[in-house]
């Protein structure tokens, strides 16, 4: 375990530039993952109620307009 801790420290935490850069990259990834996860949960929670789920019942084939 100390080996892993030292590796982490030496790769990321030692230089502040690397630390801050990894924080920003991590924030970007975290935001993306959080949005995806919350959207997926929302769609799952409201499945069958949203327009994209029921539009097949109402949309007519786009012909003869």
């Amino acid at each position: 375990m100390p080996g892993l801790a030292d590796t982490l420290y030496n790769t990321i935490f030692r230089r502040n530039s690397v630390f801050v850069a990894s924080i920003f990259i991590g924030a970007f990834g975290f935001g993306l993952a959080f949005d995806t996860a919350s959207n997926r949960f929302w769609d799952y929670h409201n499945r069958g109620k949203q327009w994209k789920d029921i539009r097949d019942k109402y949309a007519t084939p786009a012909e003869g307009e």
Partner: protein, 279 residues
Amino acid sequence: MALPARAVSLKPFNLASTVRTLPSGVPSVPGINLYAKVYGADHGHDHGHSLSRSDVPPSWASGIRLGGGSKFESRTVMNAPVSRGMHTSTKVPSANPYSVPDWSHYKTESPSMNRAFSYFMVGSMGLLGASAAKATVTDFLATMAASADVLALAKVEVSMSAIPLAKNVIIKWRGKPVFIRHRTAAEIDDARHVDLKSLRDPETDEARTKRPEWLVMLGVCTHLGCVPIGESGDYGGWFCPCHGSHYDISGRARKGPAPLNLEIPPYDFNDAEEKIIIG
């Protein structure tokens, strides 16, 4: 100012202490527990130190019991011995009161682990803070963006099949006229064989059209903003009646006071529905 109506009515009343009174006048309390312990007794909360407090009177000093004829008898011995010291906590069950407690579980086991953990927590907080700040800024900027109904109004669709060859159509887009001309092959050929050096605002026809047969332009004269008339003028294109500017079949200024070619709006073709989408 009127006081609000009182929501709660408070009336003092006495609860009946028992359900039954004996003929002697003493209330009947059959289930009362006369063995309730006095304060200071450890109600099982002694946390392992089963030592009674020193300032509690001894149990024989006071008491209550049910006497004859269902009468309570209470007895209190005055001057019962109570030792009250500087503190009332129980004694520490330690063989040597001067021994140092065992603090060894506070000792640092791995400095590198502690360091990595501290930096990790700092970084995690920074990560959360950065994403929160980004979300705040993004949402704030999103409030300034055009809403969906405005965006829907900002686009105009024109059916391509409704415009025959060599015909002009004028439609309204964002309050301005837009000219759409379905050009013939001869007109395209004409527009593409113009010496660019002779033009006031040199622009090739290829640059002005996405598809040569469809010319889409903003119908506002670049001179003073009149609306030019189609299929007229010396160059077979448009002619502005206000001050006599002539535009060719590609909408380029050729003669008169107009300084620039007619402007091209952003537009796109939807081949599936045969439509030109302006905006």
